[in-house]
Amino acid sequence: MKRLSLFLALCAPLAAADPVEADYYKTTTFDTPKETALEVGSIDLMPDGKLALGTRRGEIWVVSGAGSSDPSNVSYKLFASGLHEVLGIAYNPKDKNLYATTRYEITRLKDVDGDGRADVFENVNDSWGVSGDYHEYAIGSRFDKAGDLWVTLCLTGSFSSQVPFRGWALRIKPDGTMVPTCSGIRSPGGIGFDADGEVYYCDNQGPWHGACTLQHLVPGTFQGHPGGNVWYDLAPNMGPRPIDPIPEAFQGERGRKDSRPGGDPDRMVMERGRIKQLIPPAVYLVHGKIGNSASAIICDLSDGKFGPFAKQLFIADQSHSNLSRVYLETVNGIKQGVVFPFRSGFASGIIGGRMDEEGRVFVGGSDRGWGARGGKPFCFEKCEWTGKTPFEVHEMHAKPDGFEVTFTQPVDPASASDLKNYSMREFTYAYREQYGGDEIDEIIPKITAVKVAEDGKSARLTISPLTKGHVHELHLDGVKSAEGLPLLHKVGYYTLNEIP
């Protein structure tokens, strides 16, 4: 008994410390093959727990044993090499082949002689242009529910589209035909699906993007950057070319003095009224706070094996070497939602990512060209739930007069009912041609009421005003769980495209 109390005494200072991400989600960094720099650009699942990794150096590695609890069980087999940058890898269960999205082509790779190395490289589709500019990345998807592959094509540089379909999302049908699907893409970093199979991609801060964004790829829409719209005549299925957004914008208060009936035309919310094909970003991945270089989109379909966030999206970031968490909802037919910090501290810039059925998230990437917080030039890692449920905001729902936030664990009603423990700030970004932009048009609304549900699992905030088109930054600094723990992440950023 004496010994036990001594033990408790020693542990006490530790137990008192605030919880950290690693308490709930642990990461494992795998050793990678010595003969290469495994700059992971894309990941997909293969049968028997294997993974396919496509790399920036044009290799495809088949990985076994990455799901094992012992990372030394991992083994690698070089399936193919010499491809032009594999930023999309997709396993097709129908024909059992891998499909690689490379710089200028989607390639079907077959291993006819069964020796574990590809020997047939078939062009599935190469109907987009490449001008030789380094920036013309092609980011490919897995197979969607219709059996199509999607490819998002970076512009030539940041502003223009010098060869066909730069700045577009294309769909490649199972027969290899191509369907121009969305315009307005700037610099995609990753493409993925939500739990319903809807398709999203991440765009990067730059012209027409004050921050990185999560964008919903609804066929026929214009995603915001007009640089690629010169190719509408090659895409009759897309209808007429959208009118161009206004390139100039007022930043900050400079334009406020002028009377601008109807508001600033250079805000996304205003241009949506003018440009009928324009779809707003589903979520602004707030620059410098959530990340600077959004990449992979990973949906949790593990049904609880990755913790309490079933069906939510996890967005990777190359620059911040982290994962953020997105909850989406549909309001007035438009996707919108909230992003929270989730897990930082990956070893390099994350580019590719995929979750398996067991709720293991595999990620990998490299810091090449842009730098990353992780510090390693490249990495392949795993992120797993420890089984301990973090105290987090679970979901955030827009309401006509405020928001409802739900929690992963019951809250302490006293702290959660105290208005002082919440604060909100609203801002937006100018929708303009110039690179990046500040958080502008700041509004500090009043939180007039908070009501905690009887089960302690949600709180209803009444807020005035809500501002259509603004990011609503909610801080819940003082809210404690019933067990007295603070929130693991105390801030979320909700993009309010529509007020319900």
Partner: protein, 519 residues
């Protein structure tokens, strides 16, 4: 970091006492290049060069007077090859002022000489037959400039992320810098300090000068109170900032401000004038300090080594357009296929390709082959197939962004030896192309040969031609020989010269074309 390839080596003696300049020049394996293509020395400076031939061919190192057309000089000796052979391929030319022996593979030699007194650019070259076009470099002879005078320092303590306004701070310590070279003493404060250096700079004449600065963490240079180069913020010293400005003859106020937050301490400054080479003003010399050519980023090479099976490299290959597929075959024979023109774009021998351009940083640009004797048999990214009733006509020209009509790329398959067969369609015909090799591309007398087999099934359009070469070919001994400094031979049944085109009437069936680097 090792940066041995293609670098300009600066004689580190610059503004100090004139020590001998020591260099090592190596030959690159199977690339027909020296690893060092620029040397910088001062007039009259003693020079020591260790010349190492790591290649499998003989090479020498021959220094000539400024303005010498070294390729023409090396070529001229082929007029009397027997005599040239007796002289071991060293041209009998008065413009040669220093040279090594003709080194056999894996030999080395030390050369000692005094650099010319006259400033200028002195070319050096290998005069072994066929090497001079690519195997060459330059020795730049230029005097060093002056260093600073009356250099003083003021040390400040503080934790900054950017350079502070030092004028508002009180120095912790001040003093004189005895050797007048900007320097940070590593045995002093290690973190959270700043230093302001002030001194006199004497411009030898009215003219334009350039200043260079690299620092870890931030620094800036001011001349006469005006900021010239700014390298502020927290960062490594890998980027050299530089800026030019006109100066009047005489004395100028020099001020360099530096701060260190934490981690590495590095500080490099230099200047350059019209009459003197880049001259360090700091005690330390930047590891990649190289005259005026700093804008080009250089990386450690990543040569792709071909062993017992072909190596494939799909990327931007110079001369093969934007859908190039490089194939390095065993035995020092390489091709680049274009999945845009559906044609053989390049052939070369020796080493395959260096991937470092594409596998470093953002990977921009087109990479030339790493080997030598690069030949573009039929123009840049142009199809072989073409319909014309005049086979001497001009074939279509490549315009990036416009795809050739009638062609569709199908991909490739690898056989048991992992040799690729390329597949495409042209109108109603299906085409398969396979390349095999004979001989040794790494040896000068290896008679390296590429055998191209083109299998056409289906229907060819009428008046269809298959072009296998362009340029001035002459028929000789059942083959077609390209006139020029590098003999190149094409052989194909049914081939004919039509103006600048070497063509075969295109029909269903099989065509066999051999390409050979002749002696």
């Amino acid at each position: 970091m090792i940066r041995s390839l293609f670098v300009l080596i600066v004689a580190t003696a610059a503004a100090r006492a004139v020590d001998p300049a020591a260099f090592t020049i190596k030959t690159m394996t199977a690339q027909m290049k020296y690893d060092t293509t620029e040397l910088l020395v001062q007039p009259g400076q003693p020079v020591k060069i260790l010349f190492e031939n790591g290649d499998d061919l003989p090479h020498n190192l021959v220094f000539c007077q400024p303005g010498t057309d070294t390729a023409a000089m090396a070529m001229k000796q082929m007029e009397k090859p027997e005599e040239a052979l007796k002289r071991n391929w060293l041209p009998d030319d008065p413009r040669i002022w220093a040279h090594s022996k003709m080194l056999n593979p894996h030999e080395k030699e030390e050369l000692n000489f005094t650099a010319p007194e006259k400033a200028g650019t002195y070319p050096y070259v290998c005069t072994f037959p066929g090497h001079a076009l690519t195997m060459r470099g330059e020795m730049k002879v230029a005097p060093a400039g002056d260093i600073l005078h009356n250099l003083k320092f003021a040390l400040y303590l503080g934790n900054w992320k950017r350079l502070p306004d030092f004028s508002k701070l009180k120095p912790h310590r001040e003093g004189k810098v005895e050797d007048n070279l900007v320097q940070v003493k590593l045995d002093d404060y290690k973190n959270e300090f700043g230093v302001v250096f002030t001194g006199k700079l004497i411009a030898p004449k009215k003219g334009s000068y350039r200043f260079f600065l690299a620092s870890d963490d931030g620094a800036r240079i001011l001349i006469d109170g005006q900021e010239i180069v700014n390298d502020d913020g927290i960062h490594p010293a890998s980027n050299i900032r530089e800026k030019g400005l006109p100066l009047e003859k005489g004395e100028h106020e020099f001020r360099l401000e530096y701060f260190q937050a934490a981690g590495h301490i590095e500080l490099y400054a230099a200047w350059k004038g019209a009459d003197f080479q880049i001259t360090p003003l700091s005690k330390w010399l930047h590891p990649n300090w190289k005259g005026g050519a700093k804008k080009k980023q250089e990386f450690d090479p990543i040569p792709l080594i071909v062993k017992d099976e072909p190596v494939i490299y799909r990327n931007f290959i110079q001369g093969a357009g934007n859908r190039g597929i490089g194939i390095g075959y065993p035995g020092g024979i390489n091709i680049a296929w274009s999945a845009e023109s559906m044609n053989l774009a390049l052939v070369w021998r020796g080493a395959f390709i260096d991937a470092s351009r594409h596998w470093n940083s953002r990977g921009g640009g087109h990479q030339p082959p790493l080997g030598y004797d690069v030949i573009q048999p039929t123009g840049e990214v142009t199809p072989a197939f073409f319909v014309t009733d005049k086979p001497d006509a001009a074939w279509p020209k490549w315009e990036k962004g416009i795809r050739y009509e009638g062609f569709a790329w199908k991909g490739y398959s690898l056989d048991a030896k992992r040799f690729p067969t390329f597949r495409y369609t042209w109108h109603d015909a299906e085409v398969e192309e396979t390349f095999t090799t004979e001989g040794d591309g790494n040896k000068p007398d290896g008679s390296p040969t590429i055998i191209r087999t083109v299998k056409v099934t289906g229907t060819m359009p009428e008046h269809a031609w298959f072009r296998i070469g362009i340029g001035s070919y002459e028929a000789k001994d059942g083959a077609f020989v390209l006139k020029g400094p590098k003999p190149f031979r094409i052989k194909a049944a049914g081939a004919q010269i039509a103006g600048q085109n070497l063509v075969i009437p295109a029909k269903a069936g099989t065509m066999t074309i051999t390409y050979q680097w002749a002696q």
